[in-house]
Every structure is written in structure tokens, then in C-alpha cells.
Amino acid sequence: MPDYSLSYFYVFVFFGTGAVFVAALLTASGLVQPKKKTAEKLRTYESGEEPVGGAWGRFPIHFYIFALLFVVFDVEVIFLFPWAVLFRSFGWYGLVEMGVFIFILVAGLFYAWRKGALKWY
Amino acid sequence: MSVDVVGLVWLVPGIPLAAAIVNGLFGRRWLHRTTGVIASVALGLSAALGLAIFFAVLASGGQPRVVTLYEWIGVGDFRVDTAALVDPLSATMVAVVAGISFLIHIFSIGYMEHDRGIHRFFTWLPLFVFFMLTLVLADNYLLMFVGWEGVGLCSYLLIGFWFEKPAPYTAANKAFWMNRIGDWGFTIGTILTFLTFGSLNFHEVFDKVAGVAQTQPLTITFIALAFFLGATGKSAQLPLYSWLPDAMEGPTPVSALIHAATMVTAGVYLVARSTPIFADAGSALVVVGIVGAVTALFAATIALVQVDIKRVLAYSTVSQLGYMFLACGVGAPIAAIFHLATHAFFKALLFLGSGSVIHATEEQDMRRMGGLRRKMPITYWTFLLAGGALAAIPPLAGFWSKDEIVGAAFTSGHQILWSVGIGTGLLTAFYTTRMIYLTFHGEPRDHHLYDHAHESPPVMTVPLMLLAAGAVLAGLVLGFPPDAGFIHRFLAGVVSAEAGQQPEAPNYVLIAVLAAVAVVAALIGIGIGYAMYARRRPDPAAVSRAAGPIYTLLVNKYFVDELYDHRIIDGGRALFGAAWAFDAHIIDGIVDRLAWLTALIGSGLRRVQTGVVGNYALSIAAGLLVLIVVYGGYATGMLHR
């Protein structure tokens, strides 16, 4: 199947090109740009204030909860795509199946909502 | 558009389950009294579908069909599916269970209206229906056992519904324990069945029964007895009957649904379903018949003197269930199922009627009632019809079925059992008359109570009327003409003792004579009751004085509870004491030494339990390595067995 292989070879090459292009661009830029490093320049930028401590500390946890919800809905997507392409041939049966599936996930979303996990602050 | 109704059979238990889940999850917080409506609508759908399936089976000429939901267990040769067996027997049961449950759910909306735990009630009740339908529909013993245990659980929950009070709580425990004894029998029966037949599927088992009966008749008898022990537990037969009267501590609709119409009939259903086993089980069948007859008489005598309206009905239920087992025992399982169906109608009606009375008066003691006829006409008339059916007055439903059972006892040559049946019929008529008179007739004995009594709302009376229609007509519709009625033809292929044989043409002269005897007995019973309670001649008090010790014996229910307490439980205690001594000194002695040894080894092994996950992972990986080497060694042929 040269068609299949070729198509994905294109994809592969494009991925490679992306990396190579960025590298080349930055190298080219590195060749022409001036390099005068001073202590002030190298300091972390905090709107002109003296930086206090590093940034790598602890964070509020709600970032994690959104990532978690996203993962769950992303997993839903891997079932949705195949279903969407063939859902006419599955008919009502497939519709009910997917309905139950999504309903259960939405119940989870609703739970998160009620628990206040969707609040940002 | 033709719809495969039978294929939808799983929706029949499924809808009540969904209602139970919804009510259980959202009832307390949001739904409250709406739970009743949800449950009733669900049961309505379920009942409609159940009826549709009944007619579909009827239309298909009673062909059995298996509807598999999914494979439940598949281990080697042992395969159990979650599958429904839809045949005339289960279709009849489904229609009866779902239909009666529907009416009782509606009645409960009114009855439980003011109860704080209504959402709990309407969670357990549909859940119960779900399990009951599973039990009835199961196509194998294991799935049936699931339903069996499930109804036991729901019964426990519902008897103890008012768990704040000590009596319901104790009664629930009692029911649970007694049922456990029966369940033990069922378990033994199931295990033996599997060991003997290598399958638990009804059809596979029944196909092999005849062959196995040739070689191992004793095993078959033993299986039958084990199942019968299970049936006595669930259906409240001697010796495991005493939980049922106590179960009246639960709400009245529960008594009506579980302890009159459905769960207690599970035992009968089990025996009827297992007819091929029992038919080849020889003496087991005799045991069934005798136990049934004795229970019927025994419970009827106790019912004579009870003063609590629900207890009278409870003992009457035990007695009627005895009739059903009697029918099974004399080789007339169709009559048993027939009586089951009619009994479901009129007993549910009696219970709901009593519930209506209790709802109106908040009193259960019949001695304080009286004259309620004028206050509660609908309840009275429906109750009267149901009482007539119970007393087997033609042409009400009970007459046709009970008469057939008693007749079958005679024609099969069990004259003693027949006479017991007739005697019980007389007693039944008597206590029914007594109950109706004490409750509805005569002068009000407690005016405060009388003045506050009122007719129940339509949501309660309409189910009463519907059930009354059933109590009047069910016998005629299903069982006329006797021994060759609709239900006989419908069920003949499934549960007749000699499956496949054409039933002989019934001897109508004999039937008529026997029926006449039974009716006369019933009329005598009614007459005595009327004389004692309406005319006071002889005065009931005088009679009880004259009877003296017998009366004491009856009022105290033959001291069975005390007997169980003292003889069995004390005996058990003594036995356990001895066992304890053995345990404490000899077993524990060994154990103590072992423990010492274990401690010694353990103190050495403790170092392994570092609590460090990495070490555990390392052990797992080491195990993996061993597996790879051993399995890979065999697979590649480097190692040999």
C-alpha cells in the first residue's frame, strides 16, 4: 500500500522538518545576534522587583482537577470518533450505548460541579 | 410493526430496579413523596410488559424460550448465564407478581403518605420486585438463588422498616435467621445438583433427571428434600413458619406484597419449577404433602383465637401455603400454581383491606373494632368478597383452586390428607367469619376509635376494588372447568408431574361430590362463626373457658416459640458450651503452640515487611521472573513435566 505508507512518510517528514526548521532558525539567529550577557539581564524578570525564591514551589490544586477532567473527556473522545463515523450503521442501539456512556461521564462532571471542583478560586 | 416482546423480558425486572436506584440515590434529598409515583409508574410499565409477555407466550402456544442477557460465569465446563427462561410457568408468575405489585405500590402511596421514611420504603419495595422477578425468570438455580437471597434481604429490610421500635427489629432478625436455615437447604440442594448433573441450568438438569434417578435414586431424594427445606424457610412451613406471623410488624402493604402474594410463594414456585426432580424423588413428595397438610391444619387452629387482625391473616397465609404444598405433594403442581395465583389476589386484598382499616383506626386489635361496616363501605365489601374467597365459597376465586387441591388429594388416594384439607377448610371458614364479624359488624366496642374511623382515599380504595375483581373472577377465568381449565392447559406442558402425558378426562361427578363436601364444610364453619359471634350462642368466652387448656395452647401458638427458645436454643447452647470447652482447651492449645511458633517465624520474617514499596515491587518482579522461567521453560520444551 504505497498510498498509506507514503502519506505517513509525509507526516514523518513534516515532523522532522518542524524540529529542524526551529533549530535552523534559532541557530541562524544565534549567528547574527549580539551576545552581551550581564548579571541584570540574566536575572529572572519580576517586573523590576528583586526575585524572591524560585518559581518551582507548590501550587493550588485546582489546576490538577481541570487536567483530570480533561483526561477523562479526552478518553471519551477516543470512543466518540469511531462512533461518529459509523453511527448511522449502529442505529438506535449505538445511540443508546453512547448515550449511557456519556450520561455516566456527565454524572461525573456534575459531581465535580457539585463538589465545587469547577470553581477556579 | 411487530415487536419481539419476549426479547424485552429483562425490562420487566429492569424497570423496577431502575426505579429503586433512582429513588435510592435521589429519594432522600429531592424526591420525597414523589418516590411513590416513580415506583408506581415503573411497576405499571413493568406490569404492562409482564402481561404482554404472558399473552405473547400464550400466543406462541407456550413454547419455552431462553433470553440470555450475558454470560455470567464461565469457568471450564461450569457455565452460568444471566438468562431468563420464559415459559408458561414463569410467564404466569411474572404476570401475577408484577400485576399485584403494581396495585400494592399504588395502595402504598396512600398508606405511607405520612411516613418519614417513605423514600426508603419506595427504594426497597421496587428492589424487592426486581429480585422476585429475577427469581421467577431465572433459567438456572444459581441465578434463582440470587433472586432468592435478594427477596430475603428486602424482606428483612422491610419487616424492620420501623427499626426504631424493638418489635419490628426483632421480627426482622427472626425472619432473617429462619430464612437462613432454609437458604442453607437451598445451597446444599444447588451444590448437590451441580455435583450430580454437572449443570445448574433447568433444562439440562431436568433432561438428565430420569437417567440419574435410575442409578442414584437416593441422591435425587436428598436434593429434593434439600430444596424443600429451602422452600419451607421461604414459604413459612413447619417447622420454619414462625417468622411469618412476626413479620406482620412491617408496614401492611409489605405484608400484603411480600408475606402474602409474592415472596412466600417462592418456595411453592421452587417446588413447582423442580417438579421433574420431585417427581422422581419418591418419598420426598410424600414428605412435601404431609408437611403441607399438617401446616395447613396447624396454622388454621392458631388463627382461630388470634385477636390481631394481621396475625389472623398471617396464620391464614401459612395455612394456605400449606395447601399449595399439599397440592405439590399429591402430584398436582398445577393446582398449587392455580391456588398461588388466586391466593395472591384475595390475600393481597385481605391484607390491603386490613391495612385500610389500620390506616383508618390506627389499631390492630379486633376486639376494639366493630361496626366499621358503616364507616368504610368499600373496604368492607371488598374485604367480604376476599373473605368469601378465602373461605372457598363458590363461585369466588378461592373455591376453584382450593377445591381442586383437596380433590386432587382424594383422587390421588391420600384420603387422610383429604380429610385434613376438609377440616382445615371448615376452620378457615370459621376464623374468616369471626374476623369479619369482629371487625365490621356488631356494635362499636371502642367509640373513640369508631368515631375517628373514615374511609380511605381513592388511591387506596381503587386497588382494593381492582383486586376484588380479581378475587371474584380469577378462579372462574383461569380454572373453569375444573381440572381442564385455561391454566391447566397452559401449564400442562411445563409442570405436570408426568410431563408430556395428556391429562385424563376429569371425572366431573366425583369432582362435584367432593366440591359439595368441601362447600358444606365451609358453610358449617361459617355457620358456627355466625352463631358464636353474631348470636352469641354459644358465647365465645364460654367456649374458650370450656376449652380450657386447648384454648391456652392455641392462644400461645402451641408454645412453638418457647419450644424453639428452650429446647433448640438451649440445647444449642449446651452443645456450644461443650464445643467451647473443646475449643478452648484442645484446639486453642494447639493454636497457642502454633501461634508461638508463628510468632517466632514472624519475628524473623518481619524484616521482609519493610513498608518500602520498592521492596514489594522487587518481590513481584522476582515472582515474574520465576513465572517466565518456568512457563517459558515448558513452552520452549527446555523443561519437561
Binding site: L68, F70, I78, P82, I102, I104, G108, A117 | G614, L624
Partner: protein, 181 residues
């Protein structure tokens, strides 16, 4: 020539997968491990493409690179560690574990080379339809169970993470102009 190209691509993927996989285990910064893990996953998707399973490859990138790696990066960021000597990144039992893994790996890899190709090889690509039919017809029940599993994971993780008192109002009044964080 296409076959040769395929071989080259396969070799690249293999080197990347094994190299990046080793990097995950050996790197002394957790963030590096995470990035290399994502890279391994990406190359694994390439392997799937080579096998003709384009849909699985896309799902691989979607789930592993797009979702799971982000989640793990969050986990890395939420659990900062003080820098320390390289040896301390490993457990005390390291030599045992390494030896054990190597011992177990050897026979398995040897056995792996004994597999021969089967006769029937489906044409590559277009596996989306077959997958959909299999999932929604033969595996309908596991499919529904999967949603319950996800629900359980979601609820469990939220409960675990949101353990701090949820209803405690802040002591100071929130001014409207103050941007919520």
C-alpha cells in the same frame, strides 16, 4: 526502496523508543523523565503507524502525549524536590532491581525473536471502522464498564485531591476589584 525507507524509519523509532525509555529511568531530573516519556510515546505512535494501525496511533498521541503527559507534568510540578546527588535518585535496592529486570528481559526478548509472521496480514490503514464495529458490537458491555471506571477514577481523584475544608470562607472580605487567582 519504500521497504528500505520503512526499515530506516523503524530503526529510528526503535532507537528513539529504547533510548528515551532508558532516559526516563536514568535521568536525574523528573521533568526530563517526563519529557522523554512523552517522546517515547510519540515514537510509539510511529510504531503503530508502521504496523498500519493509524487510528490507534492517533489515539496514542491524543491520550498519552496530549493528556497523560500533561497530567504527569502537573504531578511533577506539584511535588518539587530539593536537588541532591545522582545516586540518591535511586532506591537502595537498585543493583538487585536492575539485575532482576535484565535477567527477566533476556529470555523474553529471546522468545520475542522466535515469532514468525502469520499468513494473513490485513492491509494497513482504515482500521477506524473495524475498531468501531468491534467496540460497539462485541465489546458493548466492557465499553459501558469503561465509563464507570472513568467515573470512579474521576470521583476518587477529586475526593483525594479536594480534601481541604471546602466551605471555609476567607477571613478577609473579597473586594470586587481583586482579581481571583
Amino acid at each position: 526502496m519504500l521497504d528500505f525507507l520503512g526499515l530506516v524509519v523503524f530503526a529510528i523509532f526503535t532507537i528513539m523508543i529504547v533510548g528515551a525509555g532508558l532516559g526516563v529511568v536514568l535521568a536525574n531530573r523528573v521533568t526530563t523523565s517526563a519529557l522523554l516519556m512523552a517522546f517515547t510515546f510519540l515514537n510509539m505512535a510511529g510504531m503503530f503507524v508502521l504496523l498500519g494501525a493509524e487510528t490507534i496511533a492517533a489515539f496514542q498521541v491524543l491520550i498519552y502525549v496530549g493528556a497523560i503527559t500533561v497530567l504527569i507534568l502537573y504531578g511533577v510540578m506539584f511535588t518539587p524536590q530539593t536537588p541532591r546527588a545522582y545516586g540518591l535518585f535511586f532506591q537502595k535496592q537498585t543493583p538487585w532491581g536492575a539485575v532482576l529486570a535484565a535477567l527477566a528481559a533476556l529470555p523474553v526478548i529471546v522468545v520475542a525473536f522466535s515469532f514468525h509472521d502469520a499468513k494473513t496480514v490485513a492491509p494497513p490503514g482504515g482500521d477506524l471502522n473495524a475498531l468501531a464495529i468491534a467496540v460497539f458490537n462485541s465489546f458493548a458491555f466492557p465499553f459501558e464498564v469503561a465509563s464507570v471506571l472513568l467515573l470512579a477514577a474521576m470521583v476518587g481523584a477529586i475526593v483525594l485531591v479536594k480534601r481541604e475544608s471546602p466551605a471555609a470562607p476567607p477571613a478577609a472580605p473579597l473586594r470586587r476589584s481583586e482579581p481571583p487567582r
